[in-house]
């Protein structure tokens, strides 16, 4: 299955979103030979996702800038390797790509690796969040961008942060306004943060556009409220909503989109310090700053790679990236949940923490009651962080609950719980992943 002769290049870029494409174009412009691997059948990443070979019905902001970037990328002569999933970097500096179209593993020997695999969403565990019909807000947005229309049924959006407003606006534009938009924060109750947001007129204009669309739709924007539980009822989903005074009520829907922020998708990735070759992260997988920072951060990563390969002087931080870091801090304040209590503090026992293997909060609690287990023991014995997602959707929450159960202990970084070794994506080589598990457990 594996090619004997590795493909050689100066730089291998993982990820065909804004950061990866920007990095690749910049590197090629500097005269380096570049390969780019993208897991899907089209460039664009999550933000500029569109169906291959067909125009999209949902237009993302900055589409023209993206088109110019793709043109520059094409002019640089880079043929993206589509449907190539990054499996990892071995100790000899060989990168493994799972070529899904050909069903083989492609081995690449680059001098440097740029990793631009984007962000994942934070989703707080709630009873029933594992039910069919419950997805992330970003997941629903992917269906709209790729499929042009939502799945059938009533949609409820709940969580925290500006992305939920953008999704509600997109649904309204497509003629399917959600039944409600539940927001833990209340930007109207944060005037100081709102004033600071004025320093970012682009963000204000975008938010105003989305909000105007939501306010013109029948969708209520319920601020200072939390979705605390979901249960199946009469073939639909019944969501319990708690308002800022603690009163609860039930809303029915067929689909529920959850979103509690974003974080870097930095699970199972090689680090520069531990690798034989230069490894640089770009875009949201380095720091989740969103689309406005991604292109600048990709170009910054390219300059950093060149500096590291040529032992040149280190590269200063990029102003556009620094500006988006400040903007994200303002947005964080603006959307800070009204209920300041820990949303995981009152989690019912039966709540699933690990979506991969269905492990519950009560199982974690039972382990914690046994005594001083390390995160590694909790991972190996409790199988938290051991599932196919490698802890992407449980590590933060499980570590938060461990810390809450042991006040005074130093906080553990999420990677202590996550599967921090390759293959970064185990599925397509199920046999190899199974061997890997057996070796670790024996």
């Amino acid at each position: 299955m594996t090619e004997r002769q590795p493909l050689r290049c100066d730089v291998l870029v993982i990820g065909g979103g804004a950061a990866g494409v920007a990095a690749a174009a910049e590197l090629a412009l500097a005269g380096l030979s570049v390969e780019l691997a993208e897991q899907r059948d089209a460039l664009g990443g999550a933000y500029h996702r569109q169906p291959a070979g067909r125009p999209t019905a949902v237009h993302a902001r900055g589409r023209r800038q993206w088109s110019r970037l793709v043109d520059a990328f094409a002019r640089a002569g880079i043929a993206p390797r589509l449907r190539h999933v990054f499996l990892g970097l071995d100790s000899d500096g060989l990168a493994m790509l799972d070529d899904r179209a050909e069903g083989r593993v492609l081995v690449v020997r680059p001098r440097a690796l740029v990793i631009a695999v984007g962000a994942i969403e934070r989703v707080l565990p709630r009873p029933g969040w594992q039910l069919p019909g419950v997805m992330t807000a970003g997941g629903l947005q992917m269906i709209l961008k790729e499929g042009g229309s939502p799945p059938p049924g009533d949609i409820l959006i709940a969580g925290n942060g500006p992305l939920t407003i953008a999704l509600a606006a997109d649904l309204a534009r497509l003629g399917h306004p959600p039944v409600a938009l539940i927001e833990a924060g209340d930007p109207f109750a944060r005037p100081a943060a709102a004033l600071r947001l004025a320093a970012y007129p682009g963000l204000v204009a975008e938010a105003a556009g989305h909000l105007a669309r939501v306010f013109a739709s029948p969708t209520p924007w319920l601020r200072g409220e939390r979705l605390t539980a979901i249960e199946p009822r009469n073939g639909r989903l019944a969501a319990t909503i708690r308002d800022r005074r603690g009163a609860t009520r039930t809303l029915a829907a067929d689909l529920i989109a959850l979103h509690d922020g974003i974080r870097p998708n930095d699970f199972g990735l090689p680090a520069n310090e531990e690798s034989d070759i230069v490894v640089v992260r770009a875009g949201d997988c380095r720091e989740a700053l969103g689309i406005r920072a991604a292109i600048a951060d990709g170009r910054h990563a390219a300059r950093q790679v060149i500096a590291l390969l040529t032992q040149g002087p280190s590269i200063a931080d990029d102003d556009a990236v620094l500006r988006q870091r400040r903007a994200q801090a303002v947005l964080g304040d603006l959307f800070r949940p009204i209920d300041g209590a820990d949303p995981l503090a009152a989690l019912p026992d039966e709540t699933i923490l690990c979506r991969c293997e269905g492990r519950t909060f009560s199982e974690l609690r039972a382990m914690l009651a046994e005594g001083e287990l390390s995160p590694r023991e909790i991972r190996l014995n409790g199988r938290f962080g051991m599932g196919l997602c490698q802890g992407r959707f449980c590590a933060d929450n499980v570590l938060h609950l461990i810390a809450a159960a042991r006040p005074g202990d130093p906080a553990e970084p999420p990677m202590r719980l996550a599967r921090d070794r390759w293959p970064a994506r185990p599925v397509s080589i199920a046999a190899l992943a199974a061997d890997d598990d057996e070796q670790r457990e024996s």
Binding site: A46, M135, G138, G139
Partner: protein, 83 residues
């Protein structure tokens, strides 16, 4: 360039050009991708990160959200894929 049909558990699902298995199945109103009651297979993140939407195509496990739909493809829930 107008899409086609693939089989989800033997049932035909219509797709448009450029759609993944996951998007076509979701638009057809299918929410549970598990082989039986109480399974944990379903569409969730849409970006290949959560691995919840694994399906079987010709004996290989793949993320439905990353796999382009193709005319005539036989797609099954994972546990039912080896019969």
């Amino acid at each position: 360039m107008s899409g086609g049909h693939f089989l989800w558990g033997g049932k035909p699902i219509t797709f448009e050009t450029g759609e993944s298995i996951a998007v076509a199945v979701a638009k057809a109103g299918v929410r549970d991708l598990s082989a039986g009651e109480g399974g944990l297979r379903r569409y969730f993140c849409g970006i290949g990160a959560c691995q919840n939407c694994l399906v079987t195509i010709e004996g290989t496990l793949v993320e439905a959200c990353l796999t382009p739909a193709r005319d005539g493809l036989r797609v099954d829930a994972p546990e039912a894929g080896h019969d």
